[in-house]
């Protein structure tokens, strides 16, 4: 079984890359800028490298490239995992291109999930993750309440044996610490809209 993962040198991508290495008989291929696979500039090469694999992990974020990869590969891989963001649920709260991109990504995933012939696709809505932000993180927010890599990894393992699940969303805790950062980034933020 072949797994292909984008953005395998950082964060959760690296954790998953390492995780699948422990699966007996599985071949794990990582695609990152560091080995010549930029999901923007080298889009066609990324699609070609992932075509035919058993599991494609659509992890690296760059503008609308994740959505383009979903559509380019939806009939060319057996299964797909897509790294989305819980922030898409709060577009009025956090209005950035990032949130907009993640909303479009969720919609592309939803369309595959209602297609009776669609592949098994898991859309993960992730919140803040341990080790963030790294230099590639577009949000630049830091949190004092983070998901652990192992929590994401076990959800993925669970899905592999229960493939009719289409989406798993994780808890996002709006701590005072996070709230203050949001307030700085978006001075017009209306606290009454937040009822956490």
């Amino acid at each position: 079984m072949k797994v292909v993962i984008t953005g395998h040198t950082h964060g959760i991508g690296r954790a998953l890359y390492n995780h699948f290495q422990t699966f007996n008989g599985w071949e794990v291929v990582g695609l990152s800028r560091s080995n010549g696979y930029d999901i923007d500039k080298d889009f066609d090469e990324v699609v070609e490298a992932a075509t035919g694999c058993f599991l494609f992990i659509n992890n690296a974020y760059r503008d609308q490239q994740q959505t383009k990869l979903v559509n380019a590969l939806k009939n060319k891989v057996t299964k797909m995992i897509v790294m989305g963001s819980v922030s898409r649920q709060y577009p009025e709260l956090i209005h950035t291109d990032y949130v907009h991109d993640k909303q479009e990504l969720a919609e592309a995933c939803r369309l595959i999930s209602i297609d009776p012939n669609g592949i098994d696709l898991l859309h993960l809505d992730l919140s803040f993750i341990e080790g963030m932000p790294d230099k590639d993180d577009p949000t630049h927010f830091v949190s004092d309440y983070n998901l652990k890599f192992e929590e994401i990894v076990s959800a993925i393992d669970f899905w592999l044996t229960n493939p009719k699940i289409r989406q798993i969303e994780f808890r996002w805790k709006l701590t005072p610490f996070v709230f203050n950062q949001l307030k700085q980034a978006f001075p017009t933020l209306d606290p009454s809209r937040i009822q956490f």
Binding site: S113, I114, D120, K164, I165, F170, R171, F196
Partner: protein
Amino acid sequence: MKCFITGHTTGLGKEFYNHFSKLGWEVDGISISTGYDIVADYSQILSKAAGCDLFINNAYADGMQLHFLEALANQVGKMIVCGSVVTEYPDPELPKYTEDKIKLEKLFLQKDFIGLLLKLSGDTYNTPEVIMRVVDFWLENPEIKIVSFKAGKPNR
């Protein structure tokens, strides 16, 4: 461990009842067949359920799920809310149901508590067996907040 289920004598509620009984939990519930009217007996049900370790907000009961979520989110250890994929794939033949489930999901997203929203679809994809596996997995992994199933046909 004590578990309380709304609508525990039929369908998925009954599956929950059997599942947690087998696990050795103390399971209690209310349903029409045991003489409860969710609307008329609302406050009595609230006092019965408050303080349990797990409240399973299962019975749809014409939008009463929303009231149980609001009243009990911080009065019980954990809560499982039976939602629906209809929020993403609206069913024009079920406008009230669709609207109620959308309200339920919005309120759920605003609450800070240990809760799981199950977004259920047709039986083909989420058999009781799979749902119980998800619930067991969530009890071990409470950072998960929503689990949604594939929906190849309108929810019924």
